[in-house]
Amino acid sequence: MCELQMSDNRSFLIDSLVSGPPLDGRYEEIECVNYDPTLRTKLQGFFSLVFKARDKLTDRTVAIKFFDPDPSKIGDPYRISAFQREPVLLQQLLGKNRCLQLVSGLNNHVVRIVGPPTFEMRFPYFVIEWIEGHIEQYFQSQDSYDAEAKLRLFRDVLLSVEALHRNEIHHRDLKPDNFRSYFDNIKRIVVAIDLGTAARLGTVPISGDYSGPVGFLWYSAPEAYCGLAGHRQIARYTDHFALGCMLFELFSPDYFGEQLRRSGQFDRVCAALCHLLLNVKDPKDRVQQYDFHMEKLKYAVMLPTFRSRGVVAPASIGDLLDRALRGLTTMHFRDRVQSLGETRQLIDVALRVLTNERESKRRIELKRRIKQNRIERIEAREKRLQERLESNIFVRRLPND
């Protein structure tokens, strides 16, 4: 399968960084974080090797992202272009809230190999801020978090994606692993990372013909399967779809994508659309044709809901979550929410319901305790009286008492 092999290029790059002088004269204490040399496997990230380092200049931890020098990837023009595009996009996000910040732009790490023959190897890289906090535990360890905590996290996720969309950047590979969080005083900030597949509205697609999705397949929207993954106008809806998958997975032990494909109808519809669009080359026509055919085929797929097997969402917010989920994941991108603000509002309502419910429970509990205390007091008094009666002790009350 895809047991990635240790390549000479990778180990060479790692060795040169770990044992060499500070990179660019400022980045030191470098360690690779997404490659395990003992297992010889890449842990995450398909395009790049990521290193954690300390920036001498600012005394901050940074992430250095190198283009993966694996021979199987080095000649892929799409991957190279996507890697070069990432720092350009990040440049446009400089100073923007809830967005990953670029520390230094595209540069080359040049390693001279003394021969014979003597030659130079160039490894392109850029540097971004290092954000430590993961959010994946909310998805993978659901029992440890209540519904309110999960929804608050999802709200923060929505805000981070909204921030990207506000700057006309669409991520196209949203998944729990591609978010990090940090605390600004007591406020948690979630940030979308790994913009390797992201694209900006108004730019020309790198690849002329996208035959399939560019991100993780179980988070990919149906249009991405039909050659529309590179279409800028609808990229926003692809992000919405992935967010819907994430919302579902906060409450379900299964993957949304897996449940969606269980009946086979999702794949059938996507395959049918692919065939119907087979000879439509013009991107505009393609979207038009997709629109036309999807309108007829969209009802064939039953979307998972919060009533699906194994899902554990509080009953009081089930309908609200279903509405939010439908708004994000319906088959046809035209039926999805136009802006994530709409989803955020629903999540806010759900949060209020949960808060009210909790408050109401608290009050009921308080009342129950007060009542219980009264009952206990009365019982104690009666018990005392009974004991006195049984011990035949009568105390005559004096008139002044």
Partner: protein, 613 residues
């Protein structure tokens, strides 16, 4: 040295396509030439296959391309063990990923760990039990599933019901489904499941109740609508069945089972033209489904659009090159009046035959083709050695041997070997344990043979009694064959002189008399024999006017004049009788039997027969 002469393109002569002739033997005595369609036609059909797209194949590509990504995700997630290693959700997701990349044993290991982490989670427990059942349907995992279900978890109960269904224990499956509906009467899954189980167990009226509730919960369920259609179909409410299946198709146009069902229903209700856009629509995105091509070709064939039917079948042949499609092409060519082509296509269909039992439909069609194209000798030549074997293949649901036999009998009749045909028919009937439509045909033929052809009274009586037996049995005969048999029985009784019996049986036929020249003629005969010759004449004349075939018209006219002559004889008007007899003899291409009768009877009148001019 460089060759600088320019490249030339050689002009090709265009040649006519030639039928492929394959000699089967080289013996002079047994010279058999096997004719196939021209090579160009076969190659053209084969080349069509490269242009076809298939949903199944594209879906397979999706699955394969997803596998790598899923395994990568598994590896990535596995690396998160420090963060969330003890979580049951985490372990379950690892199991899901492994299951999808085709590593079920490892997946089961992770799932077991997940269950250990959350021993009271009904979802995980039932998932583990299902994994066990997937490995071995008869394993004890079902009892584990029962334990989880007993705790009242709806989804585990659903799985349990399905598990019993897969074990073919429908009553247990239904009782579990009943339990789920009692737990949540508005559950879509529960209602759909129970409705479908009730449908499978032959209780469509109860199934409908559940399916209606399921549809109230999820109005966009194509599955519920299609099952509802089947339920209505079983209840013989074709209109509602059609409407339900049509809705199912509107919701889910990519479901080929629904497309096929809808198309079959349109065909059954005589609205075959409506199935064409549905079938063509489906073929726009899935062109490797022979079942769908088949149906489209049939629709065109029924509508008489033979060229489109042929093109459709050629497309089908490019995806499924078997005897059935070539057989269909032969039928289309035959219907299009291209007998030679049909003959070659039949030959090619025979060359594609796999198993012997698949051959019956093809043989039946081929025999009917030979019969229809008057190639009786060829038919008898081929049929004689196999006819005994064919009859052994006959089963309750298999009508092909009967069709083969009918074509054989028909050929014998056409070659005027009626006695042989009668003998074969009698033997055929003696082998039948129950009556089928072909058997009724045989009874009809034998009634005709012994009443009209040979005037064998005892045999005619015997087969009249067989016909009566048939009419009084529990067999539900369709109206038309039933009326036909009644009419023939009445005719036989008239000829046997049992006029009252004849009238009694004909009473059932009388309301339908205007629909059929045979019925009109029998009514005329009854009237003649009653002595009401004027009305008899009127009915016979109407029968003659009503008959579509020339030969039948001639025969009916002969019989009319014969009966008129007899009535004149009965009234002592020999002159008029003679002129009627002469009219019988003057009619060309009629029945030789009537000719003979007329000759004999007119000789009886005068002793001398003047040859008609």
């Amino acid at each position: 040295m460089i060759d600088e002469t320019p490249a030339t393109i050689r002009s090709d002569l265009s040649v006519r396509s030639k039928v492929l002739r394959i000699p089967v033997t080289d013996s002079e005595q047994l010279r058999a030439i096997y004719e196939l369609p021209p090579l160009s036609e076969i190659l053209a059909i084969q080349s069509l296959s490269s242009e076809k797209i298939s949903l199944d194949e594209t879906m397979e590509t999706f699955t394969t391309s997803t596998k790598d990504g899923l395994y990568e995700e598994f590896l990535r997630l596995k690396g998160q063990a420090d963060l969330v290693g003890q979580s049951s959700t985490y372990l379950n997701r690892l199991a899901v990923l492994l299951e999808k990349v085709g590593r079920p044993a490892e997946a089961e290991g992770y799932l077991s760990k997940a269950v250990k982490q959350s021993p009271n989670d009904p979802y995980l427990r039932s998932r583990l039990a299902i994994v066990g059942l997937k490995k071995d349907l008869n394993s004890d995992a079902i009892y584990e599933l029962e334990k989880v279900a007993a705790d009242g978890d709806i989804h585990s109960n659903l799985n349990l019901s399905l598990a019993w269904m897969f074990r073919r224990d429908l009553s247990k499956a239904i009782s579990v489904a009943d339990r789920i509906v009692a737990m949540d009467p508005l559950s879509y899954d529960a209602r759909l499941l129970r409705g479908s189980l009730r449908l499978v167990s032959g209780r469509p009226e109860l199934a409908l109740r559940d399916l209606r509730v399921a549809l109230e919960e999820r109005p966009n369920s194509a599955v519920a609508y299609s099952n509802m259609g089947v339920a209505y179909l079983l209840l013989r409410n074709m209109e509602k069945a059609l409407s339900a299946v049509r809705r199912a198709n509107l919701i889910d146009p990519v479901d080929r089972n629904i497309v096929a069902l809808l198309s079959d229903m349109y065909e059954a209700t005589g609205k075959v033209e409506k199935s064409i856009p549905i079938l063509s629509g489906y073929l726009e995105f899935d062109q490797k489904e022979a079942d769908i091509w088949d149906r489209l070709a049939k629709a065109y064939y029924i509508l008489g659009r033979h060229n489109e039917a042929m093109r459709t079948l050629q497309n089908e042949a490019s995806v499924q090159d078997d005897h059935a499609v070539w057989n269909n092409m032969a039928l289309v060519a035959w219907a299009n009046g291209e007998s030679d082509k049909a003959s070659r296509l039949f030959s090619h269909a025979f060359s594609k035959l796999g198993k012997a039992e698949e051959s019956e439909a093809l043989v039946a069609n081929y025999f009917e083709f030979l019969d229809a194209t008057a190639q009786y000798s060829t038919l008898l030549e081929i049929a004689s050695p196999i006819i005994r074997q064919v009859s052994k293949l006959r089963t309750r649901d298999n009508v092909y041997p009967d069709r083969i036999f009918l074509a054989y009998i028909s050929a014998l009749q056409q070659l005027r070997r009626t006695d042989e045909a009668a003998a074969e028919a009698e033997e055929y009937l003696s082998r039948q344990e129950e009556y089928t439509l072909p058997a009724i045909n045989m009874v009809n033929f034998l009634l005709f043979h012994y009443t009209i052809d040979t005037k064998n009274e005892s045999k005619a009586r015997f087969y009249a009694s067989r016909a009566l037996e048939l009419l009084n049995s529990d067999i539900r005969l369709p109206t038309k064959p039933r009326l036909r048999l009644m009419n023939n029985l009445a005719y036989t009784y008239v000829e046997l002189g049992m006029l009252e019996d004849a009238k009694r049986y004909f009473a059932t036929v009388r309301p339908h008399i205007e629909q059929d020249p045979f019925f009109l003629a029998t009514q005329g005969l009854i009237l003649f024999r009653q002595g009401d010759w004027r009305d008899g004449l009127v009915y016979y004349k109407r029968a003659v006017d009503f008959s579509k075939s020339h030969r039948l018209r001639q025969q009916l006219s002969q019989k009319m004049h014969l009966e008129a002559a007899r009535s004149f004889v009965a009234r002592g008007d020999t002159r008029s009788a003679r002129s009627e007899y002469i009219r019988v003899l003057q009619i060309k291409n009629g029945s030789t039997v009537f000719d003979e009768e007329a000759k004999q009877e007119v000789q009886g009148l005068s002793g001398v027969l003047r040859q008609p001019r």
